[in-house]
Amino acid sequence: MTEQLTPVEIGRDRARFDGALKAEGAAPYAYDYPVEDPLYLWTVDSTIAKGRVAAIDASAAEATDGVVLVLTHDNAVRVSGDDLEYAVLQDPAVRFRGQVVAAVVATTPEVARAAAESVVVRYDQEPHSVTVRAEDLYRPEKVNAGFPTDTDTGDLDAAMASAAVTVDEGYVTARTHASPVEPHTTVATWTDADGFLVFESSQSAHGFRRVFSDVFEVPAERVRVIAPFVGGGFGSKGMPHAGAVVAMMAARALPGRPVKYAHTRRQMFRLVGYRPRAEQRVRLAADADGTLLGVGVDVVQESSVVKEYAEQSAMPARTMYAAPHRRTSHRLAALDVPVPSWMRAPGEAPGMFALESAMDELAHECGIDPIELRVLNEPAVDPDTGLPHSSRYLVRCLRAGADLFGWYHRDPRVRSRRQGPWLVGHGVAASTYPAYRQPNNTALVRFADGRYQVEIAAADIGTGAWTALNQIAADALGVPVDEVDLAIGDSALPVASVAGGSSGTASWGTAIVTAARQFREKFGSHPAEDDEVRADVPAPTVAEEFATHAHGAQFAEVHVHEDTGEIRVPRLYGVFDAGQVINPRTARSQLVGGMVMGMSMALHEDSVMDPALGHTANPDLADYHIPVNADVCDLRAEWLGIPDHRLNPMGSKGIGEIGITGTAAAIANAAFHATGVRVRELPITLDKFLG
């Protein structure tokens, strides 16, 4: 049990404290920082997917007025480490289409671009492989977040052979891109005196600093990363990508000159990570009443030759439901494609589409309500670890959501309801995401000018961290929010973990509470000027005793047009167990945003690989669809509001990612209920209903 804060500010609906700054355009994002005498970088990207750069003719670029540097693999600074994603411009090898093969730095962005376009690159092209073939599959050592690749308990094959009811189906999730509104941006300056100063669009100032320090072999204290405002990340800014390294290479070569580089939207489809396409075979074995005997998920996923990335897509199946026979696996194919990486709920988002679709299929096969199927298979302890849950309220979420949605009026028969030409269906799915807290967080509290300065290098990527951390600090110190001055988003501040894994608020908040408590213990309620405490937070131990997860239930009403197959989602409701909610307004925004992104995954997002050219054929937001306002109708997110005292002093669970998990299954399940057509490959587009 963690000593809990008494919520005063925590739980209060607060508009973002930085909202006015953003509305006025006064909040500086990375590209906005005024720097003196800047230079602008434009890259030259490969137009083949595999081979070698045979020759680069940059004579026209070099002769262009205003061009100060052309970087190629011949002259770029050598970088350190074995991460090939950062080994950009180190050799002539081309490992995917769109790889940076040269860069031009000039006095204006227009000149840089025109000069870059004048660079002629000649290639020795080799045949590429951009689609998964069975013979290329291999078993990764581990999967994302350090989870084991495979698990095997009991005898799944035997359970499948003997069970009264089985489901054995394949589910496909599309390649998708985070594409945050603010493009990935680096404004880097090198000076021999101070090293690197980098204004960066980053989810982790310290994490980026560590990478930059390693890659450029510069002591960490000579790298400063500043990112107080970030226009969305969704994981794609959780670690640096190649573009940042290129910009810093240019800065390193041009001491004293700030080099500015923002990715184009098209480059964001190949240089900043994406969710890889995955195929999952799900097997469920059950008694006739729906009691699960076996759960199996086998994941096959694309990865890249540059860097391995394995989403933990089978993880949800390891923890969601009780069953004695369980087997999961992850297999990869290393392709000549851009490097995949984190995108909101890596693993859980695709995994919960497959598992929760299969659960719906099982409910249908058994002829029982899909909510009751889940209730029936609710585990007493975590099936994966055998540990008790710190808290688990999935059933409460399902029941509360059912009431909110009006679930119990549903006629379970498919194609049982219509409105005019629209076939109407209702579907449900569970949501889950781990409740993490990261080690390595330090916060500083200082009293000055009658106010409390609270410092930690946290990141606000649009989530509301500026506001929520201020509220936590106020309660931790027992003062009003306006007596707290928060500083975040700068690696010069005390170390903080990444805004990722839905762990930010729990991790940073715990550090702030720890520092505030130590401050009060040391200095009481009437501190002197400049009294200060810097507190490191011990690594969490709760996961040794408890399984820690957030849960939720999502309900979708789906309409499918009988003639055209057009699919609409007039209602999407979610009820979540997210522990104590810090700020209802920003929390709702996170959950609703996750659900919209889940709807987007369900209905729209589809990065189409052109196998002949070896790249995404729809790399802009005109062709790569996400929902528009007209697609998002009655969308609600509610929560139970039960603090989990075991997790952290706030009793909170992360909310950044759970909203996207289960959404696609709820929509697919509703579409099946509407039409009788089970769509197992995302996105669910109208053609899939046209016989």
Binding site: T47, E110, R113, A114, E117, Q419, G420, P421, W422, V424, H559, D563, T564, G565, E566, R568, P570, L603, H604, V608, D610, P611, A612, L613, A617, N618, P619, D620, A622, D623, H625, P627, V628, N629, A630, D631, T685, L686, D687, L690, G691
Partner: protein
């Protein structure tokens, strides 16, 4: 950005003269298409002649009961114009189904007619495209072709024409008034766009330097009409299939009708086979099916757009049933 010269046109004839004199000159009106193409490198003009200040944005009644629409009339203004809404609701519906409010506020009538294809390969200068670089090839034949043509395409090009407005204008039998170096002439909108054949670089029959100055609508067709657009999301998406339909039923028989499909060909596709099959016929389910099948008999699907054939068929049936009352009035949005 590549440098180019910019001129603000004083009047239409001088604009035409300026563009005609330079093979790499282009007109700029709303810019919603051209500016994208400048940024993408798809268009690389030497001279941009801005005709947006020519104040050709009047919508006037013609003596024969028709309308004359200045080519500079913005999509939003045209869609909201009382005479258009009252007499040509098909046109209003089509306009409002296109793009977004912001784009419609800027896009012009003339420019919209000349909108270029949305084919992703056309818009990506790093890949081959016969429309952009003649003879370079067509990756869409085997690549990403969900949005591509099922009718009237060639081995050279399978792109589709994207304009909703143009599809409605063809159904309304509209005429484009075109100013060229040799003076003014009239081109039926139904004959303005051309199939790709072996020269997909040319979207229309216009010559370089031709400027659309107005669009004229004949007196209203009468009967009932509908613009039905089927797309991948509820708004702000190009048509997978659209249908501009107008039907006059008299004494239980289809007196006359106009059917134009969008999103299926390099032009708005006048469904003449279906029209011919139904003109003079009683609107029965069987007659509608036969007409739709007749129209799609020659449809050729690509690797990724076979669904467009049943989709076009179903769109035709759905709208025609509705307009001829052979099925109960269906509620469009529940």
């Amino acid at each position: 950005m590549r440098p180019f010269a910019y001129q603000r046109a004083a009047d239409a004839p001088s604009a035409v003269a300026a563009v005609a004199a330079d093979p790499r000159a282009v007109f700029l009106a709303g810019g919603t298409n051209l500016v994208d193409h400048l940024k993408l490198g798809v268009a690389a003009p030497s001279l941009v002649v801005d005709v947006s200040g020519l104040a050709v944005d009047e919508v006037e009644e013609l003596p024969d009961g028709g309308l004359r629409i200045g080519a500079g009339t913005r999509n939003s203004d045209l869609a909201a114009h009382p005479l258009v809404r009252e007499r040509y609701p098909l046109l209003s519906e089509a306009l409002l189904s296109g793009a977004s409010g912001q784009l419609r506020n800027v896009a012009t009538t003339g420019g919209n007619l000349l909108q270029r294809t949305r084919c992703g390969y056309f818009r990506d200068t790093t890949v081959p495209c016969n429309k952009r670089e003649p003879g370079s090839g067509c990756p869409a034949l085997t690549g990403h072709n969900r949005y591509h043509a099922i009718l009237g395409a060639s081995r050279e090009c399978v792109a589709t024409h994207p304009s909703d407005m143009a599809t409605a204008l063809v159904a309304l039998d509209a005429t484009a008034v075109v100013l060229g170096v040799d003076g003014s002439r009239r081109v039926p909108v139904g004959e303005l766009h051309r199939l790709p054949g072996d020269d997909p670089t040319r979207d229309t029959v216009l010559a370089h330097g031709d400027l659309i100055t107005a669009v004229e609508l004949p007196a209203p067709f009468g009967g009932r009409s509908r613009y039905r657009k089927v797309r991948d999301r509820a708004s702000f998406a190009f048509a997978l299939v659209s249908l501009a339909a107008a039907v006059r039923v008299r004494d239980g028989v289809i007196d006359d009708l106009r059917l134009v499909l969008g999103g299926v060909a390099h032009t708005p596709w006048r469904a003449r086979h279906a029209e011919d099959a139904l003109r003079g016929a009683a609107p029965t389910e069987g007659a509608l099916r036969a007409a739709a099948d007749a129209e799609l008999l020659d449809a050729k699907a690509l690797t990724g757009n076979a669904f467009k054939v049943p989709l076009a068929r179903n769109a035709l049936l759905s709208v025609l049933r509705d307009l001829t009352d052979i099925a109960p009035e269906l509620e469009e949005d529940a």
